[in-house]
Amino acid sequence: MHKTRRLIAFVSLFMLGLYISGATADVNGLLDLSLEDLAQTPVSLVSRKAEAPFGLPAAVSVITAKELYHSSTFNLAEALRLVPGFHVGRIDANKWAVSARGFNGRYANKVLGLIDGRSIYTTATAAGVFWEMQDILLADLDRVEVIRGPGASLWGANAVNGVVNLVSKEAIATQGGHLRLGIGTEDQLLQGRYGGRINEQTYYRAYGHFGRRDDLKSKSDIAANDSWDSWKMGTRLDWRPAVRDHITLIADLQQGDMAQTALLFSPEAPYSDFDQHRIQFSSISTSWRWQREVSDRSDFSLFSYYENLERRGPPAGELSDIWNSEFQHRISLGNRHELLWGLQYRLTAIERMNQTFTASFSPRTRQLSLFGGFAQDDISLVTNRLRLILGAKLEHNEFTGLEFQPNARLAWTPTARHALWAATSRAVRSSSSGENDVRLLLGVLPPVEGALPVFLGLVGNPDFRAETMHAFEAGYRYRYGGLLSLDVATFANDYTDLFAVEGTPLMRFDDHVLRAVTPQNQISGRSYGVEISGNYKWSNSWSLNTAYAFFHLKLKSPEASSGLHGDQEKNTPRHIFTLALQGLNILGTDLNATLRRVGPVLVNTTNIPAYSELDLYVNRLVADQTSISLSLQNMLHSSHAEYSTRLLTVPLMQAQRAFTLTLVREF
């Protein structure tokens, strides 16, 4: 029955797609195009200012709007598979592990994320980015800038192994209407946006998004229960009251409802059981930014945001309010120096809710202040040839105090085709409030002969210090016009004071005994690796991208306590290979294909074998402003496992082959 209905749906979509009305060129619409659209030039903003990546002394990649839009995925986290050196593992329908250069996991905590300058890295319960809560209209993204390696000298703590910076389009670049409807075996989505003009200086857009994802496939005898719905709506306003000023207002509202199966504990028999429950999240965020160009050698910006974030559901919930303000100033001094400096203050108020026997936090509320300042001098030693960047960020956080994170970067561009760079940096991962305050159960030993049950758990350590990294990086870039490019980045990272757990004395309670481990800065280690990517672009249409990443991590525990580091050495694949074909036009149909091979990983005690998968995306313009596309994900296998979790015990799930038909209409 429902198959027929689906068929009817598909057919009606095609019919809709054929609905056209003749369009005549009208220069009025053109006037409202942004300059970028006029020149069709993707412009990159890295190092907190606009710049193309070629001569930059860092491992930087940019995913363009076009690449994003033509990727087969509907989830932001999975779009990051396009970035060389990034590992994205789907844990279940609503959880991903995303990291670069190691230390991946559900709570991967060494990669920072930002959306239009607003941090999406949370430290309220566990540290990291909850990617499922970052639903975004991929069509409104201008680009995703990704730094692999430390970005701490500008972005501060937790930008240890990478920064993902999502930059949305200015309102003028999203004028008119856009509707996207997707129906598939795993994903359903409905997205709409309308952009308009208030006057010559002011443009806006408003958008809405609804997404529904089906359960993944369970391989164990525990039924899959991880489907989820989310919706989001928001608006952006760009006002340019004068030539030199640009004011941006952004407001977003979102809500999600996710199913989850997780092992929960109770002091009474049967002590532990897989429980099916739902998790709700919601957030409100609003930000404003004022940018002023003082002269062509100097500009500044003021930026503030407020966010209210709620996440409820087993095993625990949180309610956070975040106020953040930043100031940044760039000035050119003489012909050789470009100085960039800034100040930041952030206040985070956290309240823990829905505490359960499985997970609880003490204290129940926290107020965290963060102060920071950074300065960077970009020195042109030899004009257009040799460039030195010296910079540092000094930051104070509530848990680990003052953190100094400097870096030095050198780029040599002997000709317009070759660039060589090297860098050294210090970066820290500040401890999270979770690591300080949590009491999380992980296992149970049922009682023997009337004794009390013994629970195994993790108990926070208020003395847990920051994890520290010293990074050494070097890279090479080659380009042959716009036709061919090659990017090689290598790194060797030294880590000290890494997270490891240590046993604590038994704790006796009325109805149970807790045998806990606690976070300690016990281990050190060294990682090294290389990320190679090549791009071949045939004229303006199709391109071929290939990327390979190698990663190795060796950890060292103190002698008396070997084996403390758990799965950390192996929770990121040693090899990842991708090959992508983009925009090949055959008889008016755009074809995109991505093949990936991901090496085996060990998550907690679960071995997940290597896998290869193929995604296809076919897109056809059926009318002037209407296109239909078919996304085919995971074509090689009916299902495969990608990742699992360490702290929260959920059953191993498998990503499935998926088909999604989407209709896009611009008006």
Binding site: A25, N28, L30, L33, A39, T41, V43, L181, G481
Partner: protein, 181 residues
């Protein structure tokens, strides 16, 4: 599944009834794009204080020599404002006619005499825009050119712009090629 069907029906309705907005039609003509550029120059270039006598004075776009825009430019900007000012087009048949304007588009027909023009305009705050290959080399400020990917891009002679005392927003600069002698 039921709710999916409902969403589908709802969206089908929306899709079917939204009017086509012809505005975002594909960009076709070269001079439509150049018109849009000129409008953006009026929005993102600041003239020095004293250039305008009052706050309602129009920004004048002059066209020197043969006019390749036809009625396109007039139609496009007649209902528009930039920096709160109305926009007006004036045409000058040859260089001797050139009157008071803020943006001056120098047609290809004047390429031979343009360096003379730049000398004559040396002390004014006029932004010169052209499309002859040597335009920026000879002292013009902004030159249109066709890129390899068949899109229209701009090249800016910053020294010339500086001499004219105008401020060009980074919005324009970041997408322009900077002329290097």
């Amino acid at each position: 599944m039921r709710s999916t069907a409902r969403i589908l029906a709802f969206s089908a309705l929306i899709v079917a009834f939204v009017p086509d907005r012809t505005a975002s039609a594909p960009i076709s003509s070269e001079y439509q794009v150049k018109t849009a550029y000129l409008y953006n120059f009026a929005k993102f270039i600041q003239w020095p204080e004293g250039t305008f006598t009052d706050t309602t004075e129009a920004i004048v776009i002059g066209i020197a020599g043969e006019d390749p825009f036809g009625s396109l430019l007039d139609e496009a900007i007649s209902q528009r404002r930039a920096q709160g000012r109305p926009l007006r087009v004036e045409r000058y048949h040859n260089l001797a006619d050139i009157g008071h304007c803020h943006l001056l588009f120098v047609s290809r027909s004047e390429a031979k005499q343009q360096s003379e023009l730049f000398r004559a305009l040396a002390d004014s705050n006029v932004v010169t825009i052209g499309e002859s290959p040597d335009f920026t080399k000879e002292g013009g400020q902004v030159r249109f050119f066709l890129s390899k990917s068949q899109t229209i891009k701009i090249e800016i002679n910053r020294t010339a712009a500086h001499r004219a005392g105008i401020f060009i927003s980074s919005r324009i600069l970041k997408m322009a090629r900077i002329y290097k002698p």
